[in-house]
Symmetry: C2
Subunit: 335 residues, 2 copies
DNA sequence: ATGTATTTTGACAACGATATCAATGGGGTA
DNA sequence: TACCCCATTGATATCGTTGTCAAAATACAT
């Protein structure tokens, strides 16, 4: 049988309540008693029964990751970052795929949280921007941290990256390489990053007084196929840009493929830039110029501050914006 | 406050125990009482408290996915398949990253299972082949299903794919295209699939009486980089093969890149085939000839039979081998 | 009508922790 | 010395289920 508090209390010759105090790090336990208890805990290999703790205290030491149909490598990175943070604190991680379009989303998640006594949630785009959902969480006092929200309306903890600034800088870099005719492929309309990246691009273009040719601005949705389709359209028009900036690497890869199929060479005929530094960026040829975001670190931080918050620790409320890094590779050439 | 069994029992004018019987679908409840109870459950919106259930009955309605450093898209597919199965049965899914080389692996997992009262585990390669770990699970009576084990020594539930057969067929297809000089890049030595795929390749080569040139057989580890390195070596030798079969798509992409950098054209100078039909297969150019495995379906099935098993359902013990599908794309040409 | 087997039901203990609140004891103050 | 205060400790109730076991109701055979 498993070791219980009772066993420990007998061994240490104290009441079970005192043992409970010690393992929960409560105040007002004499230093000596504490030592004695910890000794017994160690000696007997006691680990508290989580179900019992959960039943009585309504916390589970579980946090949940909510996501909807993300890029696979993005998800893996996020999850890994969160998991590592959990490992450090002894929390566990449950995952929940959602449909952000479902009218029952809110109810489903509320039930889920209530049933499992989930201590906190971590949301990824596009859930990060669903304001009514976030408000519902606030209303029900469900702790949560959001990854990459576009606005910071709610009280939510968050981590974000400087998408606007990075897109601005990357665009400047493209311009510095001598390009004036630049196309842009927008991301998924519901993802916060899409607008930030687009605005960064536009502002950099405008500050140089260049024209924005609307035929070269295409709506994508972050998928390879949407990039491919955009590429096909652009490359079939009478005049093609000298460079294209796609809001993420998958779409850039799509464009690259459409270029190859059209007999256009990258970067000789068209320069190309992506965003995210996903694995594919370095696995296609030529390798993509892109922006690297510390996704795993961001997720790690999100989990850390979330757990710090409901443990009443100092580090809580340390929402943070992470810096991205420009990565120049072969797909961008100087004119 | 939440609705409890007690509330339901009052409303339905039966004892608490009878309500418990109904919600657990136990035998020996009169049809009429059952109806009345269900009506009250519905009316009050009763959902059992999982912590209490778990405390008393030592099950959690949670299963766990164990993985170690897998390909990201593979992980996402597996996870998605499992999640969907969980959704159907009302189970929840927690994820656990492991280090298969860690000497504490067994203890860590046993503690994890015991603490959370995990009902069952799903293992992915290379954990699927760690016999002593599997035996430990058996010994502790921890239910589990393994994905893609190489041998079926233990009693474990499993799902697998016909890696050997698929590799054999793909090799035949390459041969049918007129190739005799064929290179092969092996996968991660600890992954079961590696040997199966290699054996399929070798046997198909031998049955045609072709030579195996050991200079063209390289050890990889399923990573892009290992494929790239293998490609560099092969393309720098005096004689290069007319086709290369890489045990997975990432490595094939690595080879493709090394070919491009060496000025070799695919498929004009070298034909190429991969395995897995991961997203990259269709996103690089030219697109990869490969083998598609129904990874998500496999994972779904694994989760399904696992849950069926500890619920004592008929469908349990339906371990299954899934068929893969040859996908011929541009990277393979006829000589 | 009686006795027996079977189905249906309920009272109460138990799971293993935390919460409440009162008891204990040592130190300081008047 | 008497009194109070506060830190420390413990007895007991409690969380919301399921398990045990016996009682009650019903069916069946004689």
């Amino acid at each position: 049988m498993a070791v219980t508090i009772k066993d420990v209390s007998k061994d240490a010759k104290v009441s079970i309540k005192t043992v409970s105090r010690v393992i929960n790090n409560e105040a007002n336990v004499a230093e000596e008693t504490k030592k004695r208890v910890l000794l017994s805990v160690d000696k007997l290999g006691f680990r508290p029964n989580k179900s019992a703790q959960s039943l009585r205290s309504k916390r589970s030491f579980i946090i949940a990751l909510l996501y909807d149909n993300p890029n696979k490598s993005y998800l893996a990175d996020i999850q890994s970052g969160i998991f590592k943070a959990c490992k450090l604190t002894g929390y566990n991680l449950v995952v929940q795929e959602c449909d952000y379009k479902s009218p029952e989303l809110n109810d489903t998640i509320l039930e889920f949280v209530e049933d499992l006594k989930i201590d906190g949630l971590i949301l990824t785009p596009p859930l990060s921007d669903m304001d009514d959902f976030l408000q519902d969480l606030d209303k029900h006092q469900i702790e949560h941290a959001v990854i990459a929200p576009s606005t910071k309306k709610t009280e939510s903890l968050y981590v974000s990256s400087n998408d606007y600034e990075a897109a601005y800088k990357l665009t400047l870099e493209i311009i510095k390489h001598g390009h004036k005719d630049i196309g842009f492929i927008k991301g998924h309309p519901k993802h916060s990053a899409s607008n930030l990246r687009f605005n960064g691009f536009i502002d950099a273009i405008k500050i140089h007084g260049f024209d924005v040719n609307n035929a070269w601005i295409k709506q994508g949705n972050f998928s390879f196929k949407s990039g491919f389709d955009a590429g096909v359209e652009i490359f079939h028009s009478d005049r093609i840009p000298t460079a294209i900036f796609a809001s993420n690497d998958s779409m850039a890869a799509g464009i690259m493929k459409s270029a190859h199929m059209r007999g256009l060479k990258i970067p000789d005929d068209v320069s190309l830039a992506g965003f995210d530094d996903s694995p594919i960026a370095d696995e296609i040829w030529p390798a993509l110029t892109t922006v690297k975001q510390p996704v795993e670190k961001m997720a790690h931080h999100a989990a850390k501050i979330l757990m710090a918050k409901f443990n009443g620790l100092e580090e809580a409320n340390q929402s943070k914006e992470f810096k991205s890094e420009l990565i120049i590779r072969e797909s961008l050439r100087s004119l």
